[in-house]
């Protein structure tokens, strides 16, 4: 169990005070893959560094399994850090060391007996699928392979928590998915908690079970990933989801705003399906029941870790009262409906 209680981080800069993290409360269960999403400057990188004491909160407490990380110093903090792995956007491997030597480094630091070091490191290299590359230098590896070394290195001292700071942001989509699969694999095999910082909703959807959305130092929304995808509350959350479900959301935005001006009488609605409902013929039922016209503008289905999520943009025309009834009927079928009144392009 990891708890953040009223975390604040204020930096003194030449231009005055800068609040990077502004009163964050979170609790993360053991075994969670917990995502923290936000745009750059939202304070998420500062926040993730508080879990291993690389940053100290100005006020508030970080507690991991009952021990207050934020109050630890010196040797006590360093020995706690050995049980918290961390991986980075730019991998941060030592170029002067081979793959094997990079994985050995945390073991050397922890003072693991020499004899055990090598077999442990080799076991980890196997776990991340890099056997045969032990003697390669980082400069000879691809980005995905480098991150695998980073993961092996982070797991060396059998941590209970793994921190991922934009760990896939420097990777191409294919490699990103491979690394994410590896993280899920590790989460299940080693039963460790993973905290992921990212600006990509895709990462959250693929592997997280819970998510917190950060904006200007605050957590503005938090919950189970499926719930957040189903019913996003905040504008920023909707934006993240839209970017993920429609990679070409800008095109959709243009199409929507055109339709809004061309057909002021109709209504534009955004339907969000999940789980079972993705298999239901919702639209055809509506057309049969109500005298309305439906015009599908854009649709997609995304696979989340625990469920699938469908997204559909539809123009609905007809008598206003009937439209209202139809929308109500869709809602009754347990599909989320959002009426779009204006689009910010």
């Amino acid at each position: 169990m990891i708890e953040l209680a009223n975390i604040k981080k204020i930096y003194e800069t030449k231009r005055g005070k800068l609040t990077a993290v502004d009163g964050v409360d979170l609790s993360i269960n053991d075994g969670d893959i917990f995502g923290i999403i936000g745009y750059s400057g939202a304070g998420k990188s500062t926040l993730v560094r508080m879990f291993n004491g690389l940053e100290k909160p100005t006020s508030g407490d970080v507690t991991i399994n009952g021990s207050k990380i934020s109050a630890l110093k010196g040797k006590a903090l360093r020995s706690k850090r050995q049980k918290i792995g961390m991986i980075f956007q730019h991998f941060n491997l030592l170029w002067s060391r081979t793959v094997l030597e990079n994985v050995l480094l945390p073991l050397e630091i922890a003072g693991v007996p020499k004899k055990e070091q090598k077999s442990k490191a080799q076991e980890l290299i196997r776990l991340v699928g890099l056997e045969g590359r032990e003697e390669a230098y980082p400069s000879q590896l691809s980005g995905g392979q480098k991150q695998r070394v980073g993961i092996a290195r982070a797991l060396a001292n059998e941590p209970t928590l793994l921190l991922c700071d934009e760990a896939t942001s420097a990777l191409d989509p294919q490699t990103t998915d491979e690394v994410l699969d590896l993280l899920v694999d590790i989460n299940q095999k080693l039963k460790l908690t993973i905290i992921i910082i990212t600006h990509e909703m895709h990462v959250i959807r693929k592997i997280c079970n819970r998510v917190a959305v950060m904006e200007s130092g605050k957590v503005v929304e938090e919950g189970h990933v499926i719930d957040i995808f189903k019913k996003p509350q905040q504008e920023i959350t909707k934006r993240f989801i839209r970017q993920d479900t429609n990679p070409d959301s800008e095109d959709t935005d243009v199409a929507l705003s055109q339709l809004l001006t061309e057909y002021p009488e109709g209504k534009l609605i955004h339907l969000t399906f999940h789980g079972e409902q993705t298999n239901q013929p919702v639209l055809s039922r509506i057309i049969r029941q109500y005298p309305v016209e439906l015009n599908v503008i854009q649709g997609s289905i995304q696979q989340a870790k625990e469920d699938s999520i469908g997204s559909l943009y539809v123009q609905i025309t007809g008598d206003n009262d009937v439209i209202e009834q139809a929308i109500q009927q869709i809602k009754n079928m347990d599909v989320e409906v959002e009426v779009i009144n204006d689009v910010t392009v």
Binding site: L54, L77, Q82, M86, L93, L105, P106, A110
Partner: protein, 235 residues
Amino acid sequence: MMLQFNVLAASILSQYTDFEEIDWNKMWEATKETLFMTVGSVIIVFILGLAIGLILYETSNQHSLAANITYRVVSILVNVFRSIPFIILIVLLIPVTKQLLDTMVGPKAALPALIVSSAPFYARLVETGFREIDKGVVEAVESMGANKWQVIFKVLIPESLPSIAAGITTTTISLVGFTAMAAVIGAGGLGNMAYLDGFQRNKPAVTLAATVIILIIVFLIQGIGDRIVRRVDKR
């Protein structure tokens, strides 16, 4: 006209090639003295430079007042000693050398000035080398629970080894140059040969031979240095 020029050139050339004039035993002694001064000072410059470079790196951009003051003081000292022309520094340090080594002539007497002039220069190169290391790598190793010494010996030094090696090569070569100047305090060596035997006794061949030997020494140092840099650089 042409003939005159040829005769002149031949006479100059003959002065330079009058190898009979050279006392090779003395030349060998002088070579050994130059090597002694260079190697002796380089060893100490290397250790001192690393230490000062480390102090500069560790105390720069820190919030604590003590670190700030340390950085300022060390930085000013480094800049001052780096800026004093060697020929002046060696004379300036004569009383110190006398106290320290109980002598003011001979190759040993040149060591304090050689070290004081080069260690600050090398310290700056080391500091720059440390600064070029990706901060993220240091952070990653700190996140593993490394202490300061582990960061220094497992990250800072190994990751800046190419700069450290290239820096000591440059420093060594400039030290060879300085040893030649140390002749003014009677430190011996090839500079001494070139000046006293070659110039003052009017034997240009001696000067030429001393020059060639110094060039060979410099090229050897450069060659070895380059090899080491290539060897350790796995980027």
